[in-house]
């Protein structure tokens, strides 16, 4: 139990992979969800981007962005509090969380401008 809690600590190298794993899960969810939505209930083309599909995809992206941003800030704080190995781990994790956050924002941008099923 103690070791599991230690693994959750933001200076643990497991955070090297958590941020980008979240990015991957978000990416698969958005791509897969979009494909299923278009197969099951494609909105009318004249609706443009104002569709339930776009709204849902944006909501999911927003949630992923907030979660990753919080983890970025947490790792930044930890990096300032430590030296040596722990600082290295937290700083690299912070960078990776930040990249994942921006990655979600950048990849999700087309949802604002492209109709879903054309």
């Amino acid at each position: 139990m103690t070791s599991n809690i230690e693994r959750l600590h933001l200076t643990h190298p497991l955070h090297f992979v958590i941020g980008l794993t979240l990015w991957c899960i978000w990416f698969v969810a958005v791509y897969g969800g979009h494909a299923v939505a278009c197969a099951v209930a494609p909105p009318a083309p004249e609706q443009g981007v104002f569709t339930l599909v776009n709204a849902m995809l944006l909501m999911v992206s927003l949630a992923a962005t907030v979660l990753l941003a919080v983890l970025t800030l947490g790792c930044c704080r930890e990096a300032k509090r430590h030296e040596g190995r722990l600082r290295f781990n937290a700083a690299v994790s912070a960078g990776l969380y930040l990249f994942s956050t921006l990655g979600v924002v950048f990849t999700a941008l087309p949802i604002l401008g492209i109709p879903p099923c054309l």
């Binding site: 980008l20 991957c24 494909a35 290295f88 690299v92 990849t107 109709p115």
Partner: protein, 847 residues
């Protein structure tokens, strides 16, 4: 004994033996046999070299095929080759270069170099290294034999369906590809698993993650990418071979399949593959530039960041190879954006390399010449990659020579140039001799100029509309002069490569003897003898910094004199440290198996399976599957407390216990990483099921599910109960309790066999029409997957029961049941997911 001594502080010997005596003792244990017994060698140094030499042979064959292609295209309306032979040659060129040269060559380098760089004596699963090599060699020979027989695959190196399906590719060509490549991939996965575990668990004392050489970071990422990235292609190959051999219509529209599923599965592997090739090469660059700049790399943390980002993002780009298949614009935009994202970590690395050169005092030795060539070519290839990430441009140049040019700029620039730089850099380590700067420079300039002459021009022929994979063209198309220049330059490049190979060959005899650490490098591999001994290091040092040889130039001498740890050999075991994956603190002594015939025999049995499937003699294939399984189980038998492994557990005072006497050995990690690969395969299977269900235009779901839900639930409860009992046994072993262990193991095994029997009954009673509908075919694949895993779990547990009886497993050696328990946990999860996906969801959602 079962407690992990996480704070172990090994004692350095007070009065070490004389160095020559130590060397002889270690050589007695680790030394390689000669003659026929050389086939039993499991040592990483020898096998790494074998991988690289074999890879170079395949490279020469692939290069000759490339020259045949360029000869054919040199002039319009040529009939130097018939269209069919041309298709075979282009397909085999791509296949050989990607699967038989690039990956195995880099794996070979990693297998050779990683233990030396991290201060270990071998990789953690030496017999697996050997099995991997033999599978690679036999798979390669099987694949190449198709060329000699003039029945090579001819559908392109990505084997798109339906072109590769039996209707359009009758004969055995596609089968050679599917079976041969799957066989070779056993090798890649073996190397992937053991490189991950070796890097995480066998670094020398004190080498915490943040002190690890950058090359090890790159290889760690590459190995994990292989583990996750190769299973999609293995699944795709199995499905396509089943379609061709049995008629299961996975990729056939009329049967409810979809040819685009193949493209997804192929590129789920294929795009990460590019980075699997690039990352180790970038690791060579990140290793060499600081050495020749004479200063530490600028931004070690940034490089680690870039490696991890590349490893992940590269899995989110696969659809950019499929922009023209009719995917919605929004989905294309997702993949276009992700494709642009991957340029960020690559650019970070380029700027780090430039900054290191800028702030250091670079010496333009021969390896650096190749690094400079890499920087120029790879940056150009990266830029055209960003162009191709843009959907409208991609549509314009899709399937033209522009894509061929881009791919070669990335792969030759990003892999071949750094590889040659690395070979020149480590040549003194391989042989103890220096290469010729003069021949080497000629080789570089001919290759560099020839390469750009060949492929820069191909960008133009591509923009002029010349499609790829056409065997000839009319003279009126305006491509004549460009193709001629490309072909001439291709031969100049070949001359350059021939000079490099000549230089390498000659240096073994005529090269000047190299001094110790000739480039003044900072990493531990240069503390080896030159050429290295079979055990690498007489004693294993404690590492305090990222640059052990810069901070303590005397380290090679003191290591060779046995003044550091584990310099005892009178126990007769092959030993090295098992350390904490994060901090590098010593946790246990890992004892390794010695030379063995088993990997060779197992690979030979698998080769017979491969050939039997190819010629469709299925009973013979079945017999040799059993032979291979028996050999592999025998291999697993000679472990732990077995007399051939480590019958006694004595260690020097102050040293930690042997890994087989703890609950923390590397086998746990190897099983976990192998299950990661297995999980990737399983997720791809689920993707295939849901993809066909959602997308396939002729998908036919029956009104009622053919699978017995009661039967599946009963089987699921049995496997869950068995896993629970096994977990209880493992908890008992942690507390040194082993009463009734054998009976428990036999009982759990029996539960496993009953689960298999029930699952088999469910499968047989479903009366699936596997050749009629993709629905039934893919359902059958899922159930067979469950059967194989259930059977494996039951057999391994049965063996554990036997091992308890022999005294190889118990409170004194508690490790192995914990390894088997991981498989049972995996089986529980995947079985219930299968029940949900195949039997519950169709009932809930309907067709």
């Amino acid at each position: 004994m079962t407690t992990i001594n996480r704070q172990a502080t090994p004692q350095e010997p007070q009065n070490p033996r004389d160095p020559q005596g130590l060397h002889e003792d270690l050589h007695e244990i680790w030394g390689n046999p000669r003659g026929l017994k050389a086939l039993t060698i499991v040592n990483h140094t020898t096998l790494g070299l074998r991988f690289m030499v074999t890879g170079m042979v395949f490279f020469l064959i692939g290069g000759i095929l490339a020259m045949l292609v360029r000869t054919q295209l040199a002039f319009p309306d040529q009939d130097f080759m018939s269209p069919d032979i041309y298709n075979q040659v282009t397909t085999m060129h791509g296949t050989v270069m990607m699967f038989l040269f690039a990956i195995p060559m880099l794996e070979g380098l990693a297998i050779y170099m990683i233990p030396k760089m991290i201060g270990a004596r071998d990789l953690v699963c030496p017999r697996l290294t050997s099995l991997g090599y033999w599978c690679y060699l036999f798979g390669g020979i099987i694949l190449m034999s198709s060329l000699v027989l003039e029945m090579a695959p001819n559908s392109g190196w990505f084997m798109y369906t339906p072109l590769s399906s039996s209707e359009y590719a009758p004969g055995l060509g596609s089968d050679f590809w599917l079976l041969g490549i799957t066989f070779v991939e056993i090798s890649a996965l073996s190397a992937g698993v053991e490189l991950v575990v070796s890097i995480l668990r066998t670094r020398t004392q004190g080498m915490a993650l943040h002190k690890m050489p950058l090359f090890a970071w790159y290889i760690l990422a590459m190995a994990l990418m292989i583990v996750v990235g190769f299973p999609p292609l293995i699944l795709g190959s199995i499905l396509l071979e089943l379609e061709r051999a049995v008629g299961m219509p996975f990729f056939e529209i009329a049967g409810g399949g979809d040819p685009i599923l193949w493209q997804h599965l192929f590129w789920l592997f294929g795009h990460p593959e590019v980075y699997i090739i690039f990352l180790p090469a970038a690791g060579i660059v990140s290793t060499l530039i600081p050495v020749f700049a004479g200063r530490p790399i600028v931004g070690y943390g940034w490089v680690v960041f870039a490696i991890i980002v590349t490893g992940f993002i590269s899995f989110g780009l696969w659809v950019h190879h499929m922009f023209t298949v009719g995917i919605p614009q929004l989905a294309q935009a997702f993949f276009s954006a992700a494709s642009m994202l991957v340029a960020v970590p690559t650019a970070i690395q380029v700027f780090v390399w430039l900054a290191t050169l800028w702030l250091g005092k670079p010496k333009m030795k021969l390896p650096m010449l190749w690094i400079m060539g890499f920087l120029i070519i790879f940056v150009c290839g990266g830029l055209t990659g960003v162009m191709l990430a843009l959907v409208p441009f991609n549509w314009q140049v899709h399937d033209t020579h522009f894509v061929v040019a881009h791919m070669h700029y990335v792969l030759v620039g990003g892999m071949f140039f750094p590889l040659i730089a690395g070979l020149y850099y480590w040549l003194p380590l391989f042989s103890g001799r220096m290469p010729s700067e003069t021949i080497g420079k000629w080789g570089f300039w001919l290759t560099f100029l020839g390469f750009n002459g060949t492929f820069l021009i191909m960008h133009w022929t591509g923009l002029l509309g010349m499609p790829r994979r056409i065997y000839t063209y009319d003279t009126g198309m305006g491509w004549d002069i460009f193709n001629l220049l490309s072909s001439v330059s291709g031969f100049i490049m070949s001359a350059g490569i021939a000079m490099v190979l000549l230089d390498i060959a000659l240096h073994f005899r005529f090269g000047k003897p190299a001094k110790q650490n000739p480039w003044n490098a900072d990493t531990l591999e240069w503390a080896n003898f030159m050429p290295p001994s079979a055990y690498n290091f007489v004693s294993l040092p404690k590492i305090e910094t990222r640059h052990p040889l810069w901070d303590d130039p005397d380290l090679p001498r003191t290591m060779a004199e046995g003044k550091h740890s584990l310099s005892v050999a009178n126990h007769g075991r092959r030993e090295m440290w098992g350390t904490d994956p994060i901090t590098g603190k010593v946790r246990e002594i890992i004892h390794l198996p010695g030379n063995s015939w088993l990997p060779l025999f197992a690979a030979m049995a698998l080769a017979v399976v491969c050939i039997s499937l190819l010629v469709r003699v299925y009973p013979l294939a079945g017999v040799f599957v059993i032979v291979a399984a028996v050999l592999l189980l025998r291999w697993s038998w000679e472990n732990g407390a077995h007399p051939k492994a480590a019958p006694d557990a004595e260690v020097a005072p102050g040293d930690p216990p042997l890994h087989s006497r703890t609950m923390d050995g590397p086998g746990l990690w190897a099983m976990a990483i192998a299950l990661l690969a297995n999980g990737s395969f399983f997720l791809c299977y689920l993707f295939g099921w849901f993809y066909l269900w959602t997308v396939s235009p002729e998908w036919r779901m029956p009104e009622t599910s053919p699978l017995s839900l009661i039967g599946l639930v009963l089987a699921g409860l049995l496997v869950t109960f068995g896993a629970g009992v096994l977990e209880k046994c493992v908890r008992g072993l942690r507390q040194k309790r082993d009463a009734g262990l054998a009976i428990s193991m036999y009982s759990i095994s029996a539960l496993g066999f009953v689960q298999v029997a029930i699952t088999l009954w469910v499968l047989l009673s479903a009366n699936l029409e596997v050749t009629e509908t993709a629905h039934d075919a893919i359902m059958m694949v899922g159930l067979v997957y469950a059967l194989i895993h259930g059977g494996l779990g039951a057999i391994l547990t049965l063996l554990q029961g036997l091992r308890v009886g022999y005294g190889y497993v118990g409170a004194h050696a508690p490790f192995e049941p914990a390894v088997v328990a991981q498989l049972w946990r995996y089986n529980v999860v995947t079985f219930w997911v299968l029940v949900g996906a195949l039997a519950v969801l169709p009932r809930v959602i309907g067709s």
